[in-house]
Point group: C2
Chain length 502, copies 2
């Protein structure tokens, strides 16, 4: 078998796998958006059956043979060629799938499935003690998984690598350090500032039907193609690509809150625009897939915070909002822009503003690194959380529900996931600076409702690249500079100094 023949086998194999995987994506979307209540029992059975089938496909020993035939062949001479990229990532996926023994994978699935229910119950009762043995088990199993996956420096790196390939704990510590020093000071300056936003204007009456229409209009203006996607209401919003040509986003509506549905929709639109920009011809290949959670988050947060919370954006959209919502008729543009950018420390991550959000992430990152390093035990997590939170935010969360129990991630075994949120902010700030340099006066474009120059730039520079470069290399490739937290800090300093008159 020639390398080319082996490569074609790999393509065919993965094309079929991704088609089956996309059935799972549809089932997942349907489950959270459409499925009637009593469908859940058999939906779980469908999902488990599909997962078993896909696991067998991912660990098919022929993959190892085909990969070995390709590696070192003429197909991998140029490491940025389509073939080389695909072979490299298929190898990575195959190794990840085969390194974890089936017994461990099954045990992990069993424990996390139970732990998610236990977590929900523990959170409802705000009772960390109840959840503690589950967290403890999950940490043990996760450490075992890290040993199987392998790492150069420390076990946490193996966990992180699942979500942000190539990133390490040490590197993140280095990147987050300046942010950790800067952010609490900025929050303090904001709290001391005499200027305060009037956020009550965002808690007036906003009829749901009007929110639906306004969110759709904005998403479409940014480039979301409703012939290639949908927007529906759900409880926990998410974005999901079923297949090329079919990317679906979700949001939630509150009659007395402007922010959640609007900025939630824009956030998910950012994710969707990335998915919509992946290369259809490479569906089923790493060249046609998103490269990391951090890069994904850079897209959602850039559109949500940098674009849709900017004054130029609202110079275009505020008059439209005022036509639609009588509640905004007596509000000025400046007051509105100030309100949607209000900074205020709060206990819950998903409700956090653009500035304090990174503190929530750094807190979680530090705690989970300590958990895996063995520096703190699962049983001490609730108090460790409160202590660290107080240091960062200046107050103590009132209970575990608003403390260590607020997020689902750990109960699902997703240790190593959190830092990708803030990495997204770092990446996004660097990308955006480069876009400004390449495209010029983006603000004037927004004032005219023109978002396609930015989108086209992101398509070309990031979306169409698929997995050609890992996240760090992609940043360097796009911006010509090494990854750094400084652009994010500069962005926040400029934006919030102006808003709060610091």
């Amino acid at each position: 078998m020639t390398a080319r023949e082996a490569y074609d086998q790999l393509r065919t194999h993965h094309r079929e796998a991704v088609l089956f995987g996309s059935m799972g994506a549809l089932m997942g979307w349907d489950q959270r958006v459409m499925m009637p209540k009593n469908g859940s029992k058999f939906r779980a059975e469908q999902m488990a059956t599909l997962a078993g089938f896909l696991h067998d496909k991912e660990t098919d020993p022929r993959l190892g043979d085909w990969l070995a035939r390709c590696e070192g062949s003429e197909l991998t001479t140029d490491p940025t060629s389509v073939e080389a990229v695909n072979i490299r990532w298929w190898r990575r996926e195959f190794d990840q799938a085969t390194k974890i023994p089936k017994s461990l994978a099954v045990e992990m699935a069993r424990v996390t499935s139970l732990a998610e229910d236990e977590w929900a119950e523990s959170r409802a009762q705000s009772d960390f003690k109840r959840f503690e043995p589950w967290l403890s088990q999950i940490v043990d199993l996760t450490k075992q998984a890290a040993e199987c996956l392998g790492y150069e420096d420390e076990p946490y790196d193996a966990l992180l690598d699942r979500f942000e390939p190539g990133m390490t704990a040490k590197e993140i510590e280095r990147l987050f350090q300046p942010l950790r020093e800067y952010t609490p000071k900025l929050v303090q300056r904001i709290q001391d500032a005499p200027k305060k936003p009037n956020t009550s204007i965002l808690n007036r009456h906003f009829p749901v039907q009007d929110q639906v229409q306004f969110s759709r209009e904005a998403a479409a203006a940014l480039g979301f193609d409703f012939d290639s996607g949908r927007l529906d209401p759900t409880v926990h919003p998410f974005a999901c690509r079923v297949t090329p040509g079919d990317t679906r986003i979700t949001t939630r509506y509150y009659e007395d809150q402007f922010n959640p549905s609007f900025f939630g929709t824009i956030h998910e639109t950012g994710h969707a625009l990335y998915e919509m920009g992946l290369l259809e011809d490479h569906f089923g290949e790493p060249m046609g897939e998103s490269v990391s959670l951090g890069i994904h988050e850079s897209q959602s947060r850039m559109w949500e915070n940098v674009v849709a919370r900017s004054r130029p954006f609202w110079e275009k959209f505020f008059p439209i909002a005022q036509q639609r919502f009588s509640a905004l008729s007596d509000v000025s543009l400046d007051d509105f822009v100030f309100a949607v950018n209000a900074v205020k420390p709060s206990a819950i991550r998903v409700e956090a503003d653009e500035v304090t959000y990174n503190l929530h992430i750094m807190l979680r990152f530090e705690l989970e690194v300590a958990l895996i390093r063995g520096d703190i035990a699962a049983r001490d997590m609730a108090e460790a959380w409160k202590d660290k939170f107080e240091t960062y935010m200046g107050f103590r969360p009132p209970n575990d529900k608003e403390g260590a129990l607020q997020d689902v991630h750990w109960s699902g075994g997703m240790i190593g996931y959190f830092p990708t949120y803030s990495l997204g902010n770092l990446y996004g700030a660097m990308f955006y600076n480069q876009a400004l340099e390449d495209l010029g006066d983006l603000d004037s474009m927004y004032r005219r409702g023109e978002f396609s120059p930015l989108l086209d730039w992101l398509r070309k520079k990031i979306h169409n690249q698929g997995c050609r470069y890992d996240a760090k290399k992609l940043v360097e490739h796009v911006t010509g500079k090494p990854l750094s937290p400084q652009p994010l800090i500069d962005y926040m300093e400029a934006k919030f100094s102006a808003l709060y008159g610091l």
Copy 2:
């Protein structure tokens, strides 16, 4: 391997197959109800991939070994035991799947896929000549399939058997004969009657949102469980069970027509109630599946025509309808019931009333039997249709679009499907007579809004029986009488004599 072990292998195998099949059901629903336009290309690829996978599962040679081990064993001693029923039908499915050579299945899939598009185009242009070569090819391929499948008497029986197991052309001819004699005479008497319904009251203004609510209320009252299903709008309505606990129906709304959404919803509710009544514990086994299209249709037509077009039903629901639709405020109950039961020959089957509907079916049945027997050629179909239509209905369809091109079935290779619609009416009349005998005064129950006695009876007698008896035997088992068209004729005679004062 013991027979019991082989049986367990069969169960496991089919359970997995039905779970994958149910992913296809969800994709099919989604495609017609939710999917954005540009999702169609990859949806087709998903469906083709799944179909290939399922075909391999259905023709897995191990099935033949397992079946051989079970057949004649102690598991099949009682032919109505769960095991015997499942083994019998699994054998049937395996034989059907393996008797058609892959080359023929692939060619059939290719031709029908193209033919469906060609049919749509030909229909749009009302140009039978354009479609004729496709029909000709499909008839040839279908005849080949009939030879592969095998038959006792004539090829058409093999085709019919795919949709109505155990039924034959001769038997249907015998059953339809009295109906063919009776129906045109009834239509003539109705046309000669001095009493005429005022159907214009059904073409007033019915706001879509109110139609949605009213249809939902009625479906729920009949027993459709919205925790185990959904109702959504679509272009070509259908019902589909994704899994137990998840059965979805669809309908379409016209602001100026009362009938399509309301009776369409009740029709699909009838299908859904059958699916909802199948035994969850036997999901993936013939014991937990519907037995034939004719039995399915008996359920949908019974609820639609016998129940929901009856005066007692409207004694309960007409006051509710009047509250919801101001267009009905000046309409009397009698006029309304007369209007929803109006009989009038028309060219299009899907718009036909309860009486002329069977003429549409008999026409198609006779034409397709003649096609397969070689008594008429595909090229003569358009004229043959018009001639026969004129004989049955008293006027000639104005064009092919309203003639031989109106239905999708033949272009999809579904020759043998049409008679199941009228068989459903025959079965339904017999079932309903038995229900009246067993349950007493159903009319009074409807006046009180009580439909669960009928539903519970159908559950026990029909739905829970799965494939235990084939359609004809099920009728005999439930009613103690052999299948006959007389109950349907008696029902129509009584109902329409009273309505039209014949």
